[in-house]
Point group: C2
Chain length 208, copies 2
């Protein structure tokens, strides 16, 4: 299994695509470790947008902490189901609580978004692992808040929410914490970026 | 429900984002109908990438044929589960067969990708409706092939596969058919683009 390909035909396409991606971004990723390079290559592969090689910022402890969590089969928590459904090769749990009735009630009562309430719900239910935010800045802010209160056990955050309202600020807020993290600078990000990053880590973990 | 928002907080964010999107792309979408403008705005909203306003190409019969199919509760077929899981507000069926065992066997036997085999499987099982391809050029080529053989009853195709190998060519191939279609020119596209387009159509249908 390589980048979602499961037939020779799919593998050939993925392989050729990866070669093109490498040639497009090689000058941007020279300073990264092989595992970090793999993350960025997958992000560019899955978006066909080489600009991401300039937008990605990875904290120095991100890969190591993430791999450790994955090896321990810790949970992966996603903000939306689209991100969850892209993570298909992990032995551990991949959870998303945004449609959970308790989360819906919590959002109403606390006047917060469902995405934020879903993070609160995970914290209340002893979540431990990696958080992947591909959509909602409010989920990212809530994760940072609970981490700083000591109420959320986070190994790392894939913080790549997308949009023109709050996304860029939320990613800068994450970058300035001590949480091991990967972000994309500016408004761009989203489901394919979050999924590419998590799947890259899973494949690196399996190769180790 | 507006663009995935289900709380006042979520709605406010989505609304503000839409205003920003409109101001960024208004010069690119002036010639489009309101329903077409909504599609492009949602694509830019969900990717935070205004370049999409220049890349989207919509056939003149796309919106009308798509709305007719949605009103008749025809099926929506997606190439991958990530696209399927983003389409949450439709009363009819949203199907993806890529993990179906018969599809896996078909791919092996015919030496085609699973994504292409899944389209073949849908045709063999009397699919009728809209096809949304957010990932695999091979799925798009297979849909075009079966349509031209008269073996697949397609109302319209959302053809926005992503990648550096085959994606751009497959979209040009779709554009040159008589199938009502929307594409993005070049390598860019993907799950958020496909989902934004389908969800826009569903909301327009519900407003009608």
């Amino acid at each position: 299994m390589f980048m979602g390909a499961s037939t020779k035909q799919g593998y050939d396409i993925a392989n050729k695509s990866r070669e093109i991606v490498r040639s497009l971004i090689k000058n941007d990723i020279g300073g990264l470790s092989p595992a970090e390079q793999d993350i960025v290559e997958r992000i560019v592969h899955s978006t066909a947008d080489p600009e991401y090689a300039k937008l990605v910022s990875i904290s120095s402890d991100f890969v190591e902490n993430s791999l450790k969590a994955l090896k321990n089969n810790e949970n992966i928590l996603t903000d939306i189901n689209m991100v969850k459904s892209g993570i298909t090769q992990y032995e551990g749990n991949v959870d998303c609580y945004i449609k959970n009735q308790e989360v819906i009630d919590l959002a109403k009562n606390q006047k917060i978004t469902r995405a934020a309430a879903a993070i609160q719900f995970a914290a209340d239910n002893d979540f431990k692992g990696i958080i992947a935010v591909g959509n909602a800045p409010t989920a990212l802010y809530k994760a940072i808040e609970l981490y700083e209160l000591g109420e959320l056990d986070i190994a790392s955050i894939v913080g790549v929410p997308v949009g023109f309202v709050g996304a860029a600020d939320s990613k800068q807020a994450l970058k300035s914490t001590s949480i091991p993290n990967i972000i994309t600078e500016g408004p761009k990000g989203g489901t394919p970026v979050a999924v590419a990053c998590v799947n890259s880590l899973i494949q690196t973990m399996k190769k180790d």
